[in-house]
């Protein structure tokens, strides 16, 4: 592809990446995506940095309004502007900054190198084209295949995502498929170009539990097969625990904690992560320990136009002290690979 024409990372970076053995596939640095509205500036993503390695599944979790979807849209250059804008920061994908690319260059990457799976396949599929035509388009658009060849490939792809009788399904329209089948078709489309990375934004939230399990298993199976990286954006902590290697927790546009999956669930540090984990009912815990009251995080998520000073979590935090009200805690590495943004952890109170 045209990846070669871009200058590789220079000097010190190169040395660093050699030392690290490989540079991350996706490296987001100090990303700020703001929305400029008449009511004021909404800082949907505020100074977010994280990376996704090759063949890695990273979970991005948080409640609604925490900026996880805006992060994904920023990566794809799909922020509607105006009112939205990437104010500053870098999104390095295979070493190139996506923020600096022209729409044409982004178009070549989107769908080809980075694919996206959205929550609601009924909205993301075009109702006027058959499933087959929509997958065919991926091949004709990005590979320049003839329609006939593309159709053959599309059929193979539908087989891969285990859609029964693909030869017939290829002519069907989205409304003729069930929710699970539509999501399979979406996955087929996303994987058609063998992307290096998939952004999966709540891929199973609209589906039933048993179908959810089918789709997640399928995604992970294909991920292993094709060596794709996945950024799994979800509020379903169970799915993250099971499939992700590393977890990033966001709260109101900021990353509050980042760690490999086991420490996140077994020894979470940030009071928000702790609260989030304690507030979900765990299947089977009643059989072991009897009925316990769920722990709540008091209060509610403040609106993005009405953010508190200092640490955004302090009005709901049981460990909050004076400094939390005044000064924003920066992410620091508490243990190798475990970063957290909290004064209480940093100062050890």
């Amino acid at each position: 592809m045209d990846l070669g024409i871009f200058p590789r990372v220079v000097g010190a970076k190169k040395f660093e990446s050699k030392k690290m053995n490989d540079r991350p596939l996706l490296d987001i640095r100090n990303l700020k995506t703001y929305f400029f509205l008449p009511e004021g500036v909404i800082k949907a993503v505020d100074n977010v940095s994280f990376h996704v390695g090759n063949r890695e599944i990273v979970g991005l979790v948080g409640e609604s309004g925490c900026g996880k979807s805006v992060t994904a849209l920023s990566i794809l250059g799909l922020i509607q502007s105006p009112p939205g804008q990437i104010v500053s920061g870098e999104i390095l994908f295979q070493g190139q900054d996506l923020c600096k690319m022209s729409p044409e260059q982004l178009r070549k990457i989107r769908g080809n190198r980075i694919a996206m799976i959205f929550q609601e396949p009924m909205i993301s599929l075009n109702p006027l084209y058959s499933i087959g035509d929509q997958i065919v388009e991926v091949y004709t658009e990005h590979y320049g295949l003839s329609r006939q060849e593309a159709r053959k490939k599309a059929k193979e792809m539908l087989e891969k995502v285990q859609i029964p009788s693909p030869a017939r399904r290829i002519y069907e329209y989205p409304h003729q498929l069930s929710g699970g089948m539509r999501q399979r078709a979406m996955i087929a489309m996303a994987l058609a170009c063998k992307p290096a990375m998939i952004l999966a934004d709540e891929p199973t939230t609209a589906l039933d539990v048993t179908i959810q399990a089918q789709i997640l298993e399928l995604m992970v199976e294909l991920q292993k097969l094709m060596g794709t990286s996945i950024l799994l954006i979800t509020h379903n902590l169970g799915a993250v625990a099971e499939y992700a290697k590393r977890v990033i927790v966001m709260y109101l546009g900021r990353v509050v904690e980042e760690a490999p999956v086991i420490p996140i669930f077994e020894s979470p540090l940030h009071p928000y992560t702790v609260g989030l984990l304690n507030s979900i009912p765990k299947l089977g815990s009643k059989a072991i320990g009897g009925k316990k009251r769920l722990e709540e995080i008091p209060g509610m998520v403040p609106g993005l136009n009405d953010l508190p000073e200092g640490c955004y979590f302090h009005p709901r935090c049981s460990k909050g002290r004076e400094i939390c009200k005044r000064k924003e805690p920066k992410l620091f590495e508490n243990q190798p690979g475990h970063r957290v943004a909290c004064w209480a952890v940093r100062e050890g109170w």
């Binding site: 959810q212 507030s279 009643k286 709540e296 509610m300 998520v301």
Partner: protein, 329 residues
């Protein structure tokens, strides 16, 4: 049938062989060409002070069951008894009494509150409809209810759009307890809420149940939530109840292959614990043309010959556990 032999005495709510079929109409003359068998012979009961959880995937008929009990839908067949009284055939004035005793909270707090009424009026309306308190008294009552559900009474004059999803659900709950009902039917009350807000609402429901000695029918698809709130759980599949058990029993000893698959499909937030997952093949068939015999047999890993031809009936494993499967006959 065997159910009735085991459970005697009076239940608060007793649903017997409830059926709800929706006609499918086609053509210029709207001829009925088929039926959607949404609920097909459901029997369940809720005792005083009990929470019965009703779980199942979308299209299994759990919401239709709830709506039939509320008489928002006219059942095709079957009896619904509240405190022993059959409510399938009651006159309008008795209906009003029934409405006082049975209340409902629905999933979407956005569409169940009238956007043109202040939330104070929304919560106070049941008093007016049922003519319970003099109108001078209502404001005070509503303020009380607001405090009970954790809302500030100052908010009474605001409108629904000024509240978040969790707060709206609290408003809906305040309205539902206004008349001190015996039974509240919840249809996916927390599925639209964020995790941290979900916990707050679940705890609130627990508190209110204790304080007002309420009984709940809790309809939801999230088994972890249902397990947490319920005393007993009924699992539905394609219009039928396949298993009923005590909350802990259902988790520790699920019998029906569908229940087992459902439980195993739920990802749990414990990364070290890799569980063996039963991945069900295919999808829930259409309730228009449900499979013959046991409705689960085309997806069941343990299906036998008999499952195709004969329909299993509910049989009791013990006092608190019933299952409808040929494996246990």
């Amino acid at each position: 049938m065997s159910e009735e032999l085991i459970f005697h005495g009076e239940h608060l709510l007793d649903v017997q062989r409830l059926k709800k079929f929706f006609p499918i109409k086609k053509g210029v003359f709207r001829r009925t060409v088929g039926w959607v068998q949404a609920v097909d012979g459901v029997s369940l009961h809720v005792d005083k002070g009990e929470t019965l959880g009703l779980v199942g995937e979308s299209g299994c008929g759990k919401s239709t069951t709830g709506k039939c009990i509320l008489r928002l839908l006219e059942p095709t067949e079957g009896d619904i008894l509240l405190e022993g009284k059959n409510i399938s055939a009651i006159n309008p004035s008795e209906m009003k009494q029934f409405r006082r005793k049975v209340q409902a909270v629905f999933q979407d707090p956005y569409s169940s509150l009238n956007p043109r009424m202040s939330v104070g009026n929304i919560v106070g309306e049941p008093f007016k409809v049922h003519d319970i308190h003099p109108s001078s008294d209502i404001r005070e009552r509503v303020a009380d209810l607001f405090k009970k559900v954790g809302l500030r009474p100052e908010y009474m004059s605001r409108y629904p759009h000024e509240f978040s999803g969790g707060q709206r659900q609290r408003i809906g709950i305040a309205r539902s307890i206004a008349l001190r009902p015996d039974l509240i039917i919840f249809d996916e009350p927390v599925s639209a809420l964020d995790v941290s807000i979900q916990a707050q609402v679940i705890n609130l429901l627990d508190d209110l149940k204790q304080e007002f000695k309420l009984s709940y029918l809790f309809i939801a698809h999230d088994l972890s939530v249902v397990e947490h709130v319920s005393d007993r759980i009924a699992v539905m599949y394609l219009g039928k109840i396949v298993e009923v058990a005590k909350d802990t029993e259902l988790y520790s000893n699920p019998l029906h292959p569908y229940t087992r698959a459902l439980l195993s499909a739920i990802p749990i937030p414990e990364p070290k614990q890799k569980k063996k997952r039963i991945i069900l093949q295919g999808e829930v068939p259409s309730p228009i043309n449900p499979p013959s015999g046991c409705r689960f047999h085309p997806r069941c890993s343990e299906a036998m010959k008999i499952c195709k031809h004969e329909e299993p009936i509910m049989s009791a494993i013990d006092h608190h556990h019933q299952v409808s499967c040929f494996l246990y006959r």
